[in-house]
């Protein structure tokens, strides 16, 4: 009989630390989002709210494949990627509460998390608007002659926007250091990919611009990690953009108000068997890649972290009403019309 250590020797493609990072990143997002839904149901959180549950393996793969100096911009399903990029559970939960201690002082809410420190450029609420912005962020990196890349994420719905096609064209023409990622969760709100286009193989969109394009399984962090690493290396070498269609699935509705009636129970149940967190936990048990005690330790610390984040948000002060006018303009004495 093989011992746990023997299994590890045979199977481990990555270090224990890497597996721990993937697991911790995914679990943090899952628990944060579950708590978000709970707090939403208690009306502590308001407004539009889109959770990332089911898509966590993409964030995990990105976490280990990117450098901290790399930039990122995404759409309004932003919590998971923001947490991955380094924003704290505290500042994110406080933002959902609309508190002054939120990552953007209660000004952005669920859709608009930003962090200059972590080169996280939002949180964009207009479907597809972040695609040219991501290319522009990459433009600046190239202009400044860095070898940083900008990861620009969007959903399958945004892929039908004109902004994507204009941007893919220019990004290729100008060889911008941008990694485009379509997080294809198969539904643009309630409309399936097949109902909006004859081209359901979304990877083909990149090919029309001669952009290196790959289709990737988005339920396994190591697969995402490897694809992003390949793409990042290509981009850093100055060859221009790369496009990944990462196939994923969201277990919850498009937003908190969506009961998801457009898909069958069977479909949802099928995808739950592919739960990236469940699959990773299962493989830990099978292979011992991450010892049981380490798994437990991560589970406990994430549980504490999320509880602490909620307490922090609860106890944080509200912003002052005058803060409304701050940050519309750089100058503090802008003459607003107040009558």
């Amino acid at each position: 009989m093989q011992t746990t250590a023997d299994k590890k020797k045979i199977k481990a493609k990555y270090s224990e630390e890497t597996y721990a990072t993937w697991y911790e990143t995914m679990l943090r997002i899952r628990r944060f989002e579950e708590k978000t839904l709970l707090m939403y149901s208690q009306q502590k959180i308001r407004g539009f709210c889109h959770v990332y549950i089911g898509q966590e393996a993409i964030a995990a793969g990105l976490k280990t494949a990117l450098r901290p100096e790399d930039c990122m911009v995404t759409a309004y399903r932003v919590h998971g990627l923001a947490l991955m990029k380094g924003l704290t559970s505290r500042e994110c939960m406080a933002e959902l509460y609309g508190k002054d201690t939120g990552c953007v002082r209660g000004k952005g809410g669920s859709m608009h998390f930003f962090s200059k420190e972590h080169k996280f450029f939002g949180g964009n609420g207009i479907v597809g608007a972040q695609i040219p912005i991501g290319a522009g962020i990459a433009f600046a990196e190239k202009y400044n002659k860095t070898d940083n890349i900008c990861v620009t994420l969007f959903g399958d719905g945004a892929a039908r926007q004109g902004a994507l096609h204009e941007t893919f064209n220019m990004a290729m023409n100008w060889k911008l250091p941008v990694l485009f990622i379509c997080e294809n969760n198969q539904y643009a709100m309630g409309t399936s990919v097949a109902r909006t286009s004859n081209v359901t193989d979304m990877v083909k969109i990149g090919l029309s611009y001669d952009m290196p394009s790959e289709q990737v399984d988005g339920m396994r962090p190591e697969v995402v990690h490897e694809a992003v690493s390949r793409a990042a290396e290509h981009i850093r070498s100055g060859k221009g953009p790369y496009y990944l269609e990462i196939k994923t699935y969201r277990y919850r509705g498009h937003s908190v108000s969506d009961p998801g009636l457009y898909r069958t129970k069977e479909e949802l149940e099928y995808y739950k068997t592919l739960d990236p967190i469940g699959m990773l936990e299962h493989s830990f048990k099978e292979t011992g890649l991450l010892p049981d005690e380490r798994v437990l330790e991560i589970q406990e610390s994430i549980k504490d972290e999320i509880e602490d984040a909620v307490q922090f948000a609860e106890e944080s002060p509200w912003p002052s009403p005058e803060e409304l006018y701050i940050d519309n303009y750089v100058e503090r004495d802008y003459p607003f019309m107040k009558d």
Binding site: K107, F121, N124, I126, P132, I133, I137, E166, D327
Partner: protein
């Protein structure tokens, strides 16, 4: 010392001077580089600064405006040229939803130092889609600043201020006035954003306008002078923030005001000026505020329609006589 320059040359000087000073400033747009600019505003700039800083784009206003916004969020200072503001409508998502809101959304973490510039307003027989004004459209948006000026010296100083301004600025120029000449000072100078200027002093009535209609006001004022009516002409120069104080001071002196605005009448710059004046100079008014606008209609092609549509000196004179209760 000063020289006589066209508006296009003055605008180019502003961009060239700022690009020499600051390597993070660059120009992008349709035909700005190899073609030397659709209206030759950027003539010679590709030769001086090279293709990394003077960049031809495909015809994709939404896309290149968004790339500009992203570059600005990441620390560069783009000048985005639109061949006309009519085409910028395609990019309004990026201007209104992103450039104007990035700083607020990010609670001040990400600014957006960017200039969107190009001609606004009617330019002859260009018909419905190429003749609109956009000062009011952009001027209503918190987060943006809006300049609309065709005086070569002031336009140069304002564009330099716009390029240095840490906020997104929309600069409205004029196709038909790119060749308009004026005295432009030698050497370095700036014109502050948000300050109107009195182009001609007068005592009987205040004419307030911006962009090329300031010239129409000047022509009307010269005609009125012959009839013994002294008109003061104010060029707003900036639409947002609006320097209403200069207008109020003038109305306190003249007690009568006609606002001349090439925008359509409803919900425009003239409506805002009229509101401010009734609010802050009510006791000084000897007549209701009157306005001369473009017709409340899309502009047809025939010169007959153009004449019917546009403000002109005789319509302004009629408005002046209305506020002065002169019946002839």
């Amino acid at each position: 010392m000063s020289r006589i320059l066209t508006l296009r040359d003055a605008l180019r000087e502003a961009m060239v001077e700022e690009m020499r000073l600051d390597p993070t400033v660059f120009l992008m747009g349709e035909e700005v580089a190899a073609y030397n600019g659709a209206y030759k505003v950027s003539k010679g700039m590709l030769d001086e600064f090279g293709p990394e800083r003077v960049i031809d784009t495909p015809i994709a206003e939404l896309g290149f405006a968004g790339i500009g916004v992203g570059a600005a969020m990441n620390g560069l200072k783009p000048i985005v040229e639109f061949m006309t503001w009519n085409f910028a409508v395609l990019a309004f998502d990026q201007i209104v939803n992103n450039a104007a809101k990035t700083m607020s959304q990010s609670a001040g973490q990400f600014g957006c130092q960017i200039v969107f510039r190009g001609p606004s307003g009617a330019a002859g027989q260009l018909a419905q889609q190429h003749s609109q004004t956009f000062e009011a459209w952009m001027g209503t948006v918190p987060g943006l600043k809006v300049i609309s000026c065709t005086d070569p010296a002031d336009a140069k100083g304002l564009l330099k201020s716009a390029i240095r301004d840490p906020n997104p600025v929309c600069m409205m120029e004029s196709e038909v006035f790119y060749g308009e000449k004026g005295e432009v000072p030698e050497g370095e100078y700036l014109v502050p954003i948000g300050k109107a200027i009195v182009r001609k002093e007068g005592s009987d009535v205040t004419l307030v306008s911006f962009n090329k209609q300031v010239k129409t006001c000047m022509l009307a004022a010269a005609e009125l002078e012959k009839e013994g009516i002294s008109a003061e002409v104010i060029d707003l120069r900036t639409i947002r923030p609006l320097d209403i104080e200069t207008v109020i001071q003038s109305v306190k002196k003249t007690n009568r005001i006609v606002v001349v605005d090439e925008s359509w009448p409803m919900f425009g710059v003239s409506a805002e000026v009229a509101y401010e004046i009734q609010k802050y100079a009510f006791d000084y008014l000897d007549a209701p505020v009157t306005r001369i606008n473009a017709a409340d209609s899309s502009l047809g092609y025939s010169h007959i329609y153009v004449d019917e549509y546009m403000p002109n000196p005789s319509r302004i004179i009629k408005g002046v006589k209305e506020v002065m209760y002169i019946k002839r």
